[in-house]
Symmetry: C2
Subunit: 305 residues, 2 copies
């Protein structure tokens, strides 16, 4: 599909792409670059590519497809670094969770003749690093492109075909809308999860060991998101600020309403909300976006002391 692919960044996403590209034979050469010599060494041990370098500039030379998979706050620096070596006609894309910010950071450095197409595969787990990636991570998951006004249709079609080869379903939207959608379906849930786990950790009257011991009664569902990569999520918060602040304001307003209903014993208001939310779960399961098994199917899992 491509002569040479350059992967800048080799964490969960980058290494999953590398594994799929290798398994499916989508490129002759796969050059992997990351700033950390240790991580690069690990990528080499895992045989994720065909060549390895700590120099992103070096990595993108002659590449037909360059995929930047770094925390969104580093996008601009990477673009500046690689720009001089990008080949005319190459496709440059990213996998960042925020799009307006990435476009603002990278666009100024993209040379004429290089097709910059921002992208975001909605896939991942709470693990991070090159060892966390796996073949098939993108199967059945959405990949959203936010093409720029002058995006070349053929380049977009080629990039789309690449992600489809990885098993993704593809969508397009404008960057601002992407950032709003992701603020509610992904960023707010992560921030809330981080926050509640932090609140529990700070209690004086309930010990941490009690929180852990009894976590299966609800709390543990939040801990998965709250175990996500801190650097990635710090950057998401800083780079989708406006949309996140809007969602947080709405969430807090709604929570104040709920809190008031609890204080004043307004059971009907509570019952109405609790009924409405049940329907959404059903829709998500019907849409094949979550497993139907109660308790995420965790009941079959072995229990230890």
């Amino acid at each position: 599909m491509f002569g040479k692919i350059a992967l800048i960044g080799i964490g969960l996403i980058g290494s999953s792409i590398a594994r799929d590209v290798k398994a499916l034979g989508l490129a002759k050469d796969v050059t992997i670059s990351t700033r950390s010599a240790d991580t690069l060494k690990r990528a080499e041990e895992l045989e994720l590519g065909t060549s390895y370098t700590v120099s992103a500039l070096e990595a993108v030379k002659d590449a037909d497809l360059v995929i930047v998979s770094v925390p969104v706050g580093a996008s601009g620096a990477v673009a500046e670094q690689i720009a001089p070596a990008l080949k005319k006609g190459a496709i440059l894309t990213d996998v960042g969770s925020t799009k307006a910010s990435v476009i603002a950071q990278m666009s100024p450095f993209v040379p004429e003749g290089v097709h910059f197409i921002p992208g975001h595969p909605l896939a991942g787990t709470e693990k991070s690093g090159p060892d966390a990636g796996f073949e098939g991570l993108f199967t059945g998951r959405w990949c959203i492109f936010t093409p720029l006004p002058d995006t070349d249709a053929d380049a977009l079609a080629k990039l789309r075909a690449f992600w489809e080869a990885l098993g993704s379903r593809c969508d397009e939207m404008d960057p601002q809308h992407h950032d709003k959608v992701l603020a509610i379906v992904s960023h707010l849930p992560h921030i809330i999860a981080y926050n509640i786990v932090g609140t529990a950790d700070d209690l004086e009257t309930v010990t941490e060991s009690e929180v852990i011991k009894y976590s299966a009664s609800g709390f543990r569902d939040f801990t998965r998101l709250a175990a996500s990569d801190p650097t990635m999520w710090r950057d998401v918060c800083l780079h989708n600020r406006d949309a996140i602040l809007e969602m947080l304001a709405r969430f807090s307003e709604d929570l104040a309403y709920l809190q008031r209903a609890i204080r004043w014993g307004e059971g009907d208001k509570l019952f109405d909300l609790f009924t409405r939310t049940r329907a959404i779960r059903r829709s998500i399961v019907q849409a094949g976006q979550d497993v139907d098994a109660p308790d995420f199917g965790r009941h079959g899992a072995p229990k230890k002391d």
Copy 2:
């Protein structure tokens, strides 16, 4: 283990107890009672007990163990109803998620010579009703007793042995502490989950179909708790009000701090929190309280359009 067990209420918890009692042969007779004739009929179709009646009073006659499994708001009414027929020496227990309120509601009606031992099995799923129960629901899960000052040690030992036979691990604490612990590990997470799903449902700029379609990027983790039984959770909110309001106040304070850090671009504060919470997830997995598989092991699940 018991001659006759009476189960008042036959939802997820009651019907799971019934299934285990039957499978393990823990009682000669199991009488099932619930107010709804339809639900009672369903319990009979499922052959969950040995006799069935809509009269709770009738059900508890000659019972050696009476387990009340109703929404906590109904505990007082049930206690009042069954009190005249409770056998001297019988054990009366419940499974409610709040304990101080249940004790306040039920205690006044408990006749002399009946052993009232409040209990709370920390088990369940987001499903409800007699069909949602299953054998083994309590295996490896905690059951917390909040004995009263005059609780008979032999009766407590017998009840404990019963829950252990169902596979539970047992703990004891005072009712007020139970309510605080559960407020953070269970009640707050459910309320927050209900709230965020409600917030998403109310957006004008992001459609419900977008929320559903892209839910796998975080949001769906919250929808499981938000699909829990509305009546049960309305009652929990109303009957553990003080502890819940305290936890909500702490949560909101922490969220305001986080929101401020996002607004002012204080990445270090975000990074610190996001790092701290990751350690808690690790402890929960190490304690055997959650599966170690990334993404709750959902990646193996089939994906549909």
